[in-house]
Subunit: 235 residues, 2 copies
DNA sequence: ACAAAAGTGTTGCACTTACACCCATGC
DNA sequence: GCATGGGTGTAAGTGCAACACTTTTGT
């Protein structure tokens, strides 16, 4: 087998930033490492890429190992290559962020890891440069969600407009006018009103909506402008 | 030295998509490889990362080796990891796109490579998955340039509004109304009118403008909406 | 004087914002 | 019957798109 000569080969890992939404706050799924290095520390879910898989496959595999979930929204957003980022051995990492419906996550799927949800603003310190990766992921998520309908991935298949608005408000750390918000969201044509209501959070109850799959796939890449004054809110 | 055991180490390369603008068309700087593998084929400029450099440093070094330029606009946009993308040996590549003032490029800086500018729509076939990387880069460039003032990096320090408009038109493969275009661009406050004119392309001559550095740095990350109907033009 | 490109203003429309009241229900 | 959250409409302002004529100057 021919190989390139005189070059250093390096470990390549994939790390996943897993976002979830509990109805009120944005959360991150972190793992408590039961193994060296940095045993007993909190970190992002990650792993080395296998010999027969590409990066997306590796990210999906890793996500499944931790959460048991497949078909999750997963997007590559940055590669980190500082030679000193992993003190044990040089590792280049390709970071992905995942958006999951927090209720689909079943605890203790993996016994190698103890996983736990943390509020974004109440996170433990993380190993290596994971803190920095999380910051990048947050920024990227805000950026992308301002223009593309990705936040639905954080909600269950049926959700209410107040729930959706709370999600946007959590992500942008601000408040929106509910009349304008509902008009803007509904005008995209992405939502289908359901006949039933969610009555858990009010006496009157709020109508459920679900995604119009066809429109959703069509408009996913379109430029939709989901938030007012993006100029002010996006770094 | 402690290392992670049982993991495969992989080559990591950086590839640069180098965009230039000749006043009329968007171009790409490609190299004719004088070495194996794929000797005598056209490819993107790339190289393996060094043991002491991070990804950005590697990209800057590689760009300098080919063009002699430093301080160039360079942005990481995607990592490619298909195990079969390089037939010689598995290589993960991190792709960057660079924007340079085409007139700053001096030929034959490197004798390892023969470099040549190609019209984007008139490119030779490229090695490996470089074609795909170029497609991704074009998409990313369009996307980013719709919201951020990056295209100035493709022009000389002094340029005219008609030149700038031609650039935007080349990138989006469409035409804009010059009255609306000039109003929109000038309203950003990013440009400073110069006292002199460029008289090469008309009898009347067009005023030069230069970047207002302070405003440019301030507003670089802002959301500016440089093109009409982004919905229609951005994939 | 004519050709060729630069420069400039206005109007209508669409979208966005700001804002306040009624509705349905469980207790 | 009242408290709680859900749902809706309107008016003013802003930003965007469409559109045509004048200016300059080299030949």
């Amino acid at each position: 087998m021919i190989r390139y000569s005189g070059q250093t080969r390096i470990l390549v890992a994939v790390d996943c930033i897993i976002f979830g939404f509990d109805g009120e706050h944005l959360k991150l799924l972190l793992i408590h490492r039961g193994f060296e290095p940095e045993k007993e520390q909190w970190s992002l879910m990650g792993g080395f890429i296998g010999t027969e898989e590409d990066l997306d496959q590796a990210a999906n595999r890793i996500l499944k190992e931790l959460t048991g979930l497949e078909g999750v929204y997963l997007e590559q957003f940055h590669a980190m290559g500082d030679p000193k980022r992993d003190p044990i051995e040089r590792t280049v990492c390709v970071a992905y962020f995942a958006l999951i419906d927090i209720h689909k996550y079943e605890k203790q799927i993996s016994d190698q890891y103890r996983a736990e949800w943390f509020l974004l603003k109440d996170m433990p310190s993380l190993i290596f440069d994971h803190q920095k990766i999380v910051e990048l992921a947050k920024k990227k998520l805000r950026y992308k969600a301002a223009l593309h309908p990705i936040l639905f991935e954080l909600l269950p298949p049926k959700f209410t407009l107040p729930q959706l608005q709370m999600l946007y408000e959590a992500i942008y750390e601000t408040e929106f006018d509910k009349r304008n918000f509902s008009r803007k969201i509904l005008s995209t044509g992405l939502l289908v009103k359901q006949p039933d209501k969610d009555k858990r959070s009010s006496k009157k109850g709020a109508f459920y909506y679900s995604l119009h799959e066809l429109e959703y796939n069509d408009k996913f890449d379109a430029f939709l402008n989901f938030i007012p004054n993006p100029h002010a809110l996006i770094a």
